[in-house]
Subunit: 245 residues, 2 copies
Amino acid sequence: MKELIDNIQAIQVESPVDKIIRQLKQLIVSGQLKPGDRLPAERALSEKFGVGRSYVREAILKLEFYGLLKTNPQSGTYVSGLGIKVIDSLITDIIKFNKDDFSAMVEARYYLELDSVRLAAERKSSEDIEAIEQAMNDYEAKVNNGESAVEEDMLFHVMIARATKNSVIESMILNLIPDLIKHITENKICGDNRGKAAIEEHRAIFEALKAGDIDAAENAMAGHLDEILQISRADFAAKLLINNS
Amino acid sequence: MKELIDNIQAIQVESPVDKIIRQLKQLIVSGQLKPGDRLPAERALSEKFGVGRSYVREAILKLEFYGLLKTNPQSGTYVSGLGIKVIDSLITDIIKFNKDDFSAMVEARYYLELDSVRLAAERKSSEDIEAIEQAMNDYEAKVNNGESAVEEDMLFHVMIARATKNSVIESMILNLIPDLIKHITENKICGDNRGKAAIEEHRAIFEALKAGDIDAAENAMAGHLDEILQISRADFAAKLLINNS
DNA sequence: TCTCCATATTTGGTAAACCAATTATTTGGT
DNA sequence: ACCAAATAATTGGTTTACCAAATATGGAGA
């Protein structure tokens, strides 16, 4: 029953934008559009694809965000100079990118946070330490008050990421956070005792960071994130079983 | 002199979209718009901000991508349930995110690739090995032919990322690639002998991957990426000097 | 007074129209 | 035949108008 409903919904979800991106990809891999070429005008594309120009613009915007197109005002939109294979790979990935793969997100977060905490231990300033400590205290206050503190937890990690002085790593972690919070809250992944245990783990991370002990910080972070990683991987395995049944 | 020119240009480049995002942020942090609330209608916002609805939609789209807003068709757009602090952090980061910080990109890539190759060594299938080997051969052929092969190099790394079976990590690496290619090509970061040396390094990575030797794969990858990381960090230091002079 | 259905309004989704800047073309002069 | 200036056509940027679905409203019936 459940699968049937899921399938019905799943079929219709291909948005006009994805459809356009798929067609553009086809134009490129079939050689009708070579790297460096100028795209047909937006009007021409919208007519050819049978959709409004808004969608064409949206699709171009998305591909531009990923560095595959470059549009010059009053001139035209150009395909990047990348090779066809790279473009093919990238577009395929953009289309199939799915934020619902939580186990992949949790796992990616796990490794990112280990990298993050190592860099932070190396580069933190005294202001960073203050900000991290503040976030840690906010978390503890809420937990000791019996409240849920998922967001305060995340903020603690964001402050660590900020201390890396690497805006790209910080952005990557930040991008994962809203979905992680949603997933953790909805699935009640953390038991009641988790919050209390996390307090000690946070302190261990903080102390190692403050002392600049890179390996200790990584170990503390790994211990802190290990449980949720294991749960997530178990969830993933369970999901596989259901889908394959 | 230089700074003055930079400032003049910097003032006018704030796109309408960023302006809107900034205002939305202000609405939220000032408490006029609380987490969970519904945004004013797009028309109302466009009128209030004195700009076309397209821009409002574009801004909403961007914030939705980052998980801060959720728009339900024919109903409205809602602020995520995250706390004000988290939302504030995220929006600040979205606005200031700058793809021009190449040293941060190279560094992020360095750590991502180490994680990637470890997972790949653990999880690779025989098809993955084939794809990686194919990419490696393509690269070698071009280099031996005296041609530039930056893209083939990247493709080799993409195939490794794909073997991790983690779509999030794969996406993160893919997102970095277009800008990395651009930067490497423009600045001619790789000397002529680099291409030849990379062939051996690729082979070392490949053999370790094929054998499933996780640590060897990581070491080989670290050696492969170390040079470009060092160059990038030197560039970064030099830039700092110039800007501070 | 409460419930329920018809209707009016508001929503985001979509398409079309308008604009200024750029580029291509023509045309007039040399 | 060639060059230069005027003009026509095309570009992406921006705004506006229209649509179907969802929601709020309000009045009729119980």
